[in-house]
């Protein structure tokens, strides 16, 4: 008897487990939708699939699924990069300098618990409608995970590493660039990963508030306004897929660049 093809051998079967639940849910969904027979509670799979499979078709005059996804992504990347550009240097500064830490710590602790969406009315009032207010809200969401992880990473850089550099004659800026930054990099990367996840949630929620005319959040609200449930679900699925996709990218780079982390932990 010929050997089993690779997919069915024991070691690979375990990784197939990943697909059991999603497939079960899809099958279950369709059965349930037929049984429930009320498209407002649970639309049929075909209805949602129809939306997903035509991503370039205009929906309710709001533009296509793909175009709105691109708009949302644009916004989140802008906000995310602005947040990282401020949070990483600030985190490094606060980690290296007690003075800076004392200066900023109270303010950070005050601002941190405020949900990013609470900033929407203020952001709209200060920056009016447009990319700037979006970047502000998304930035507020991404900022704190990045800052706190950077701080953590910098504080976690082994003292011996720094002292070795001292002894070998390093100046402060060299310690920052050749010891602190690479040493803290894995933790900073985790912060970026978490920060992006939050930023992504923020952009969609921010787009549901008055003042935007585009994006996945707006598409969902518009579909909600017109009771087009398949569009809502399709939008949610796209949001989830993009979220997973980007997170996966972060993970892959983490595995490749930071394999050395294993040594230290």
């Amino acid at each position: 008897m010929p050997p089993l093809p690779a997919a069915f051998r024991f070691s690979n079967r375990r990784s197939l487990l990943k697909f059991v639940l999603p497939i079960a849910i899809i099958a279950g969904w369709e059965l349930l939708a037929i049984w429930v027979n009320n498209p407002f509670i649970l639309p049929r799979l075909e209805a949602v699939a129809a939306v997903l499979l035509s991503p370039t078709v205009d929906i309710l005059g709001n533009g296509s699924l793909a175009a709105n996804a691109a708009t949302s992504l644009e916004r989140v990347l802008a906000g995310f990069f602005v947040a990282a550009a401020i949070a990483i240097p600030l985190g490094i500064g606060m980690g290296r300098s007690l003075v800076l830490h004392e200066l900023f710590d109270t303010l950070m602790q005050l601002l941190r618990p405020i949900p990013p969406l609470a900033w929407v009315p203020l952001a709209l009032a200060w920056f009016k409608i447009g990319l700037v207010s979006m970047v502000f809200i998304i930035g507020m969401g991404a900022f704190f995970p990045i800052l706190l992880n950077t701080l953590d990473g910098v504080k976690g850089v082994k003292k011996n590493w720094i002292e070795t550099a001292d002894i070998l004659g390093a100046k402060e800026h060299q310690i920052l660039s050749r010891v602190i930054l690479p040493g803290a990099a894995p933790t900073i990367w985790t912060g970026l990963r978490v920060g992006f996840g939050i930023a992504w949630m923020c952009v969609v929620a921010a787009e549901m508030m008055p003042g935007t005319n585009s994006g996945l959040g707006y598409l969902i609200i518009s579909a909600y306004n017109w009771s087009q449930v398949p569009v809502i679900i399709a939008g949610m699925i796209v949001i989830g897929i993009i979220g997973i996709g980007v997170d996966y990218l972060f993970k892959v780079i983490d595995r490749r660049s930071f394999a050395w982390r294993e040594l230290e932990r």
Binding site: A24, P39, I41, L60, P121, L124, Y224
Partner: protein, 418 residues
């Protein structure tokens, strides 16, 4: 059976079980038997429960899933229900009791911020002129207006509710005749609006500077008909005064999915006509956008201002944007405008943009054909301990105020349902 297979089958079974349980919780048999209402959604000691949905969007869905017994909303949501079979008409807003008090009732208005009126009155006049011209166009060409409005609202796509699909153009054709696109702030209209203020005071939605204002003070607090009158004269004379150019963009706010501001949508969609005929137009910058978000206000060939267009899902949201100067001009319901002015938002009503144009619908199975049978039905249900629930767009909206007055006139008590 190998270990892997066993685990797979068990997982599948568990998931199916979980989904079945979820479905059992979500489904309700068709009809109105709701065995025990959950504590949080029961109507506290009243005949009718009013559910505020912050906009009309979710209403068709709520009605179709029997979470509400009916809703009162602005067009085209009445036509959506009747054309798709999700609901049936009880009465249009103009015919709500008491008596004939609601015929030609005020609905939506054009407002502008005080600072804009002061700084560039000619611009506000031009907008009013465009609004008037566009309303005249709608009255003269209803079929074409329906077509353009369907495009503006939803890109002319169909409304699909499960197996039912209705063409948005058909819905709008059905809806247009029920909306009166009048722009004239007649004395009757002004009085009716001031009556609304009183209703709002009684309902507690207005309790600041408008509360103790005399009738004359009300006039100056609420209205500035200067631009309207200038616009009317300029339209009659056939020449609009060119406003001075604005350095910064002006933002116009309107309500999502609300055809009462059709004057705005038609002006944007059919700008060429208004440009050629009247010399004033809002020209979208991106002609491919179904719902333009940026346009240029062009008067007599001069680009006067960059105009941004932004929608909010309900009046209060648009007024909030007006209060923070995110929006300078808006097309919105008159009660939210009143409530905002009461709180100190520096805006004035320029002119009405429509009267009537809303309606009450109920589930298709309800024993209702008009308001009286509706009131009877409500009493029946209340007596049986299962009060009906009607959705309204938002506290203080026209629909809310009119519904409350109508219910009161039929001796029905009501309470908010969360």
């Amino acid at each position: 059976m190998s270990g892997m297979k066993r685990i797979g089958i068990i997982a599948l079974a568990l998931v199916s079980l979980a989904l079945l349980l979820v479905a059992a919780g979500c489904t309700q048999p068709s009809g109105t038997s709701r065995s025990t209402p959950a504590a949080s959604t029961s109507v506290p000691n009243a005949d009718v429960g009013i559910l505020y949905t912050a906009g009309v969007g979710p209403m068709p869905q709520l009605l179709a899933t029997q979470q509400i017994d009916g809703y009162i909303a602005w067009q085209p949501y009445v036509s959506i229900a009747t054309k798709s079979g999700i609901g049936k008409l009880v009465v249009y807003s103009g015919q709500l009791p008491p008596d004939n008090s609601n015929v030609n009732h005020p609905c939506c208005v054009l407002f502008a911020r005080d600072d804009l009126i002061a700084e560039n009155p000619d611009l506000v006049t031009a907008i009013s002129a465009l609004t008037q011209a566009s309303s005249a166009y709608i009255k003269a060409h209803p079929a074409e207006a329906a077509d353009l409005e369907a495009d503006f609202l939803v890109g002319k796509s169909n409304f699909t509710f499960g197996n039912i699909s209705v063409s948005s153009v058909d819905v709008l054709n059905d809806a247009f005749p029920t909306v009166q696109y009048t722009t004239d702030p007649s004395p009757q209209w002004v009085n009716d609006t001031k009556r609304f203020v009183n209703s709002e005071i009684q309902l507690g939605y207005v309790n600041n500077q408008l509360k103790n204002a005399s009738a004359d003070q009300l006039d100056s607090l609420l209205f500035d008909f200067g631009p309207y009158q200038n616009a009317s004269q300029e339209l009659a004379a056939g020449s609009i005064t060119t406003p001075h150019t604005e350095a910064n963009p002006i933002t116009i706010g309107y309500l999502t999915g609300d055809m009462h501001s059709a004057a705005l949508s038609i002006a944007l969609k059919n700008w060429q006509y208004f440009n050629d005929t009247y010399g004033v137009a809002l020209i979208p910058r991106d002609p491919t956008q179904v719902r333009p978000d940026t346009a240029d206000l062009v008067v007599n060939g001069v680009k006067v201002a960059e105009v941004k267009l932004v929608s909010g899902s309900a009046g209060p949201q648009v007024m909030q944007m007006a209060a923070t100067n995110v929006v300078q001009i808006g097309y919105v319901g008159v009660p939210p405008t009143i409530a905002a002015i009461d709180k100190g938002t520096p805006v004035k009503v320029i002119n009405p943009i429509n009267t009537e144009g809303s309606g009450l619908v109920v589930s298709p199975g309800a024993p209702v054909t008009d308001w009286n049978s509706f009131a009877a039905w409500a009493q029946q249900r209340a007596a049986a301990g299962d009060p009906i629930r009607i959705a309204a767009p938002g506290k203080g909206s026209i629909q809310d105020v009119m519904l409350q007055i109508a219910l009161k006139s039929s001796n029905l008590t009501f309470a908010t349902v969360s």
